[in-house]
Subunit: 675 residues, 3 copies
């Protein structure tokens, strides 16, 4: 069993609580704890933005109010996920040490304001953070309520100040050793951009260099590297007092690609993230749910164990164009979906709604009315009750997967800068989602891992538009197939190496031509609305956006293009290699194609249910330490759905027995165990 | 009778005249006056941008050319609205005193150029303006031609220079007294933004603070405050020589919300404004006309007396995407519409078309051809003749109204920054227009006033989306209803107080729950194209954008939602309170709904005509000092319309008798008096 | 015969070759030359971006690698178009002399990066360029392989540094002599912008002056002037060693309007340009082809002799939203189209595909695969073979034309800044293209010249939307018509003079009213989607965007408006003047109108073929020194087309005889000579 917070090994229910905004309202604070208990809340994140209250002047600390809050929470049986306050700093800190503020791409320094915008290199900032973190750690680590550290908040962004630029140069010196090597890897002789001294290297900027892709890519890598470095310093500070208390940092999911979360994850004890899907958007909840499940799966895959849902909204956000209410039942279903895909918590932003400024209209467990007599409060309470019911069985259970999709943030960084063949949109995430749907719709657990991951443990590996191949990756792919694995790649995969230099040559091992059985002669780009087609398995599918013209060597052709001058040339190929098979889809094919195609070529994979699953229903499986399968069945449609079970189960949410089938109302769900 | 310019108490016809551009063309200047007389022009605005001609070097004045022009105009019987030239400054002034140029949001100082872009705090600028204003006042106040002062031009914009920032801090110190109070009202403990010294306060900027809504709001208030302060200094300068000459400053109508015109109005003798409706736009002239009538009504309501139409175009603008000609008859109708809603003038930008630079394609009474043989010149001449016919009866007459719509610029400022619930658009002006249509279409005069206005004088007060309630406003509303008034509010009203802090609690007096009979539990937001519905008075109406879920306390439910999970819950409510009634419409309802609904619930209000008025026709009423009603009937359609009159009238425009009805051709109008 | 490069008087086939990127790959360089020979390449452009390889440190030159490449190319029979490397500079140059980097409109100086972004005034930059240019000239001018100088690359952009600002002031002093004259011509008394010292003059900037149109226009003129001045300095450097070697600078076609190419052309021996049409775009290849033919025609007309196609892509670009492959046959047809309209070359960007950074996905003769076994390589080879077949007959032949369309870049500059009547789009290039289609579709050669050109040599001159008339132009037009020429002008022509001041007066000679027979009273603007109409020659045509209301004096009315208040007023006029005719089309009429109208009113013009030409087929004619007509017939449709020839011809491409007609497959072409 994977225990996240040993001091309180249970599913967490709670969220961000900001009493520092309400110190002048003692009645509010009193009432809040009463209402939290009523809502079955057992854990709150405290102090995320409280630095100006904790250290109102440089070196003068005021922990009294926090002592009091934590004690009162503890008395009420509510645990604390205590934050380091580095996400936003007090005015005095920026006034006295302007270097803590970021320098922007245009070379100007930001003024004080906002949040998440400190220089991550500044020694002064690191020192000031170390001091307050250490003070907090020494004061609160041994408090029985404090079960986890919440390091900073939603790390993101970058800084171009002189210290960061110098650190970037050091990072590059370490990586490349010589300018000769850097000039080659960055292809910098192009346009006479040859670097002749390290001091010439500046971060990419619209005011200067925008054309050197290797620089773009290494800058993104440096940003992750420096963020990790900053985060590690914070972790060291809080661990100095009590190394056993786990640390987390709240991520922003798969679709935030400013940082390589796989790298951040290595430095953390626990993965947690803030999930804000746009429920009830016109595309339909089943689409939203699938895309969000994918993000949950990635978060789980980072460490291969349960994660925490650290933030989600009890009802609406405040920052969308349209901030819709979660309709009745949606909140419960969204929480269950997180748990189904690996979460061991349901935590919210925010417990109490802010009264003024930017987040005053973000919903909360306790709204401006201060009452429990709201629909949102009642639905949160029901979730709290549900978690208490689930915790004994689900908490710490695992999510076994036999298939993996490779999602490589570093490939996305390179792809985003790749000028040509389709600057109007390469739609990398779409490419992943179109493959992922097969697994989601068929109740097959799948991991979402990066190129450095150990792929030998899977039977099937899918590479959707995997443009950049990091050093050693193609060798691991070759081994995987040779040893019997099934590989599926899609258009625009394997184009460049680690540093964004194109692979040279026709059919080479470097680009895995031996395994795949073809080389790419040219790649066509289609306008939005334009389509080629292919017939596969008796059905015609539209092919869009990018079409590779392949030159087969050893591969078999499974389907061909239906039009254009490359009509009749291969659109889908198969190649036996060693004991395994390698497939390639040479154009952007729709989800419906992958539903059929992956079904045809995938090896036997464990399914949560062996029956047909209606569209819009997601089935996934968590496995207890004792081997018990917990089958989550979730209906994301508004209409009742009946799911055949092929056996007898008990729904541990409702307690009802389900003989051969389970019927779920719109937005309904069940967690089944074999009877 | 309200006399605007005692020296010449007649309707003004004329406009901006810029002889300083033509000093090298004596024939042009000569011809201009001949043509002005021919066009029945009796007043021109002079010197608005003439500073570089009046003071070519610092302290060296050249008034000779202006003396000459004014004398020649006076000899021709043309009066002068003399401008202070502060709207644009000479190069030498900016060269020597760069502080007169504005500092932008990014912290950089503007270079010389453009107009309307001086620092309104700079002591040097104020002093230089005082000197030229005083020179002008001393030289021309006693000239018989000079009837009014035109202070600067179209005040707008802001400055972030050190002097302005310091003045902002002083403004705040005066308002809040202490940082503790400021931190509370701005909810600044949020995100550790606590201010610990006044020097930390900076204007909102994308480079620094964007998240503190109270700061945003107070900055807008400061901009109005400082603009008024600058304007008052100019007024003092021109009044020093002859305090009896009235002052005006040309506003830009209701839809310019950079300044609170209600505050500017207090410092002026006369309200005037520049009206540039987009006639012949695809939406139809009747829509354009209604929206422009609303703006006229607001301008009139600022001081509750006639205003001046200070600028409009004789035919086309030059700054729109599409600069359409005014079709035949449109110019006359547009002028009549202004007069119908309270204008006592028809003045143009511009008398003579500029030859070069930015405004060379803006139309003018006299075009580049320099001839009177143009359609535009002829239509302007007809308007001049019409004004001579009307002036004896209409000039100085009033516009009595028994109903008011509250338009609060300060609420709009707060609404524009309110993050959530619908950042894609809250459409405040639409909300007002949908209510205003009832009055416009039914010939009922209505005032457009702000929250500080005395509402006790009305029978009906409408609050469209009145988000922010300034101190004391809810008490005045309570008194109003208690004493028998009828109140109608619409969705998202009464959310925050004076400084943008949300009202707390369920059903509280602060948010007028006693008067309204409900509290709001949650507010849903709809996508563009998405709609709920309600059935009211037997008709179904679409409800869009925002839907409040109400918790009724004492109110009666007049209509309910037709779909979504809040189907059946109240969409329209009524509550008796004291002797009055309070109504609420909980979602964005269409114009057609308000046409029916306000008709149902409004008390008896005086109508210009008691008959049905065809769509596209506006009827409004001005009342002479002797109690005579002048009924303006205007047809904004292209097709002939017949309006039943319920009595016998004379059309003072055409002189014809109208017995029981009047027939108006497309674009036609009549001004009726009872026979 | 017009010989472009006397050392090698043949059609050039080749393109940009960048061995400096591949110095570490000797096998690649070896293979490249083998493949070039295979592709029938006879000339490459070398060294365009090689400065950092040629002068790795200030004053230290390394020509060894270039010596070697040129020698090896020469041995293989490949000539060299040697570039000056000023288009991009080494890091060390910008490090030591930051003044070589541009200052932007916001006043900040660019950082190192990109290309084509040097200050064109900097004395240091000019000196450093002079040194490297002189070194190259002295070393390579006498090399038998070196046949031409390629000056810099794609000149463009501007700089606002103190030196440039000072040079701008000197330019203006020379032009205007006095500030009085400048203030008048710029109409600067407007908004008090009167200049009282030369130092006050700054380039137009969003941070300062944006409203003075004369300043805007003179700034653009200065940018061309200074670019020419910089270019002339480079030309002097390379000519110092061997003045007989011709110089060119690669232009970017007609639709790049940052520079006045007519002025640049005067300083060059050879016009060359980089052509990147968007083949296979949804609008259809026939539209793309026509627009590109127009650009070819303009390039040819600059010097009235053959030009070089200096760059085009072998297949795809990398910088478009959608980078489509050229389908089979398209490359050959595109090359033939260039030749048909006056090119004596087919050169590519790029010979070998870059491995990394910004241009790595731009297609090349030799792709990343390094093989000749690609479709693109084969199609390039076929073009090489075709050129060898054509060179003996076509090389140096002329393109006689009896008609001209006036395209005036300086009028476009003024038009782009003209505020009103249609800021949403005046679509100047569309206006030209709609007239040009008549010539393109009917096999009639036409020159595209500017207002300074000698128009007396033509029978027909067309002025599409020719807004600005430079000094003396109207007199030349008058002479042209008086002497029997036919003139056609379209809406919004002849509005302003040389410096963007509107013409004054009704019917004046200055605006050619005597020749045209009308004056314009007012100009209406139509929304997108809105249309008026006219009936001409029995057909109804839509009129859009702009409609002038004319006041005829002596003209005949050929067609009238069909609606709006100016229904029945003239839309198309004709006026006899002297021995000629002047026509005017008063609104934006469609291509179909001009097809009919120009056909009706044009004088007899020589046609390449006297038969009807199918839509989508372009026919054009080049004339050999011996008077032989070479008729290029090109089918831009995908379907087979048969063209009647009215005689017997031989197709020198295929060698087949064409008796009375020629049938072309989709994308097919023929070059016909009379048998």
């Amino acid at each position: 069993m994977n225990v996240i917070t040993p001091k309180f090994p249970q599913m967490l229910h709670g969220g961000d609580y900001d009493p520092e905004q309400w110190l002048g309202y003692p009645d509010v604070l009193e009432n809040d704890i009463t209402l939290m208990k009523q809502a079955h809340i057992n854990c709150v994140s405290l102090g995320i933005f409280a630095w100006s209250r904790l250290e109102p002047e440089e070196g003068c600390f005021d922990f009294g109010w926090l002592d009091d809050i934590i004690d009162r929470l503890w008395k009420a049986g509510i645990y604390v996920d205590l934050a380091t306050p580095s996400g936003a700093r007090p005015h005095w800190l920026a006034d006295k040490y302007p270097e803590v503020l970021r320098v922007w791409e245009d070379g100007s320094r930001a003024m004080f304001g906002g949040r998440h915008n400190h220089c991550f290199t500044s020694l002064v900032y690191r020192e000031k953070v170390r001091i307050i973190d250490t003070e907090l750690a020494e004061r609160y680590s041994s408090h029985p309520a404090v079960i986890m550290w919440h390091i900073s908040n939603e790390f993101s962004g970058d800084c171009r100040c002189p210290m960061c630029r110098e650190a970037f140069r050091e990072f590059l010196k370490k990586k490349y050793g010589s300018l000769d090597r850097l000039n080659h890897e960055w292809w910098a002789h192009f346009w006479s951009h040859t670097y002749t001294s390290w001091e010439q290297i500046e971060p990419p900027s619209y005011k200067g260099e925008t054309a050197v892709h290797g620089l773009d890519l290494d800058w993104k890598r440096f940003v992750t590297h420096q963020t990790v470095d900053f985060m590690k310093a914070e972790i060291a500070a809080v661990k100095s007092a009590a190394p056993e208390i786990p640390v987390t940092a709240n991520f922003m999911g798969m679709y935030f690609d400013g940082l390589d979360y796989f790298e951040l994850g290595e430095a953390l004890d626990v993965i947690s993230w803030d999930s804000y899907p746009e429920w009830h958007a016109p595309c339909g909840n089943e689409v939203i749910a699938m895309n969000e499940s994918l993000s949950h799966d990635m978060m789980r895959s980072i460490k291969g164990k349960p994660f925490l849902l650290m933030e989600c909204t009890p009802s609406t956000t405040n920052w969308r164009g349209i901030s819709k209410l979660k309709k009745p039942g949606m909140h419960r279903l969204a929480i269950l979906n997180a748990i189904a895909h690996g979460s061991d918590s349901a935590m919210y932003f925010q417990i109490r709604q802010s009264r003024g400024s930017a987040e005053k209209f973000h919903s909360a467990v306790i709204s401006h009315t201060g009452t429990s007599d709201t629909r949102t409060f009642r639905e949160v309470t029901e979730v709290g009750e549900m978690l208490e019911k689930l915790t004994g069985r689900i908490y710490g259970s695992s999510t076994p997967a036999e298939a993996a999709i490779i999602y490589e943030p570093q490939s996305k960084w390179a792809l985003d800068k790749a000028q040509g063949p389709r600057n109007a949109g390469l739609n990398y995430f779409d490419a992943i989602q179109r493959c992922y749907h097969y697994f989601w719709a068929n109740g097959i657990n799948v991991d979402i891992v990066n190129e450095n991951s150990d792929i030998s443990r899977y039977k099937l590996v899918v590479l959707p538009m995997l443009y950049l191949w990091r050093d050693g990756f193609s060798d691991r792919l070759r081994e995987f197939v040779k040893n019997g694995g099934t590989l599926i790649s899609t258009v625009f995969s394997g184009i460049v190496g680690e540093n964004d230099l194109c692979f040279l040559g026709e059919a080479t091992e470097e680009k895995l031509s031996d395994v795949m059985g073809y080389w790419v002669e040219e790649t066509d780009s289609l306008y939005d609305g334009e389509a080629n087609s292919t017939v596969y398995s008796g059905r015609e599918f539209e092919l869009t956006e990018l079409c590779e013209v392949l030159r087969p060597t050893t591969c078999e052709v499974l389907a061909v293009y239906g039009s254009d001058f490359y009509k009749g040339k291969p659109a889908v190929t198969a190649n036996r290699f060693g004991s395994g098979m390698a497939y390639h889809v040479a154009a952007n094919a729709p989800m419906e194609f992958f539903d059929v195609f992956i079904g045809d070529v995938a090896p036997q994979l464990k399914r949560a249910l062996d029956t047909g699953i209606p569209a819009g229903v997601n089935v996934t499986l968590r496995q207890g330490g004792d081997g018990t399968d917990y089958i989550f069945v979730q209906n994301f449609l508004d209409t009742e759905q009946t799911v055949a079970l092929g056996g007898d189960y008990t729904d541990i949410l409702s307690g009802r027995s389900c003989s051969g089938e389970v019927t779920l109302e719109g937005c309904g769900a069940a967690v089944l165990v074999k009877e």
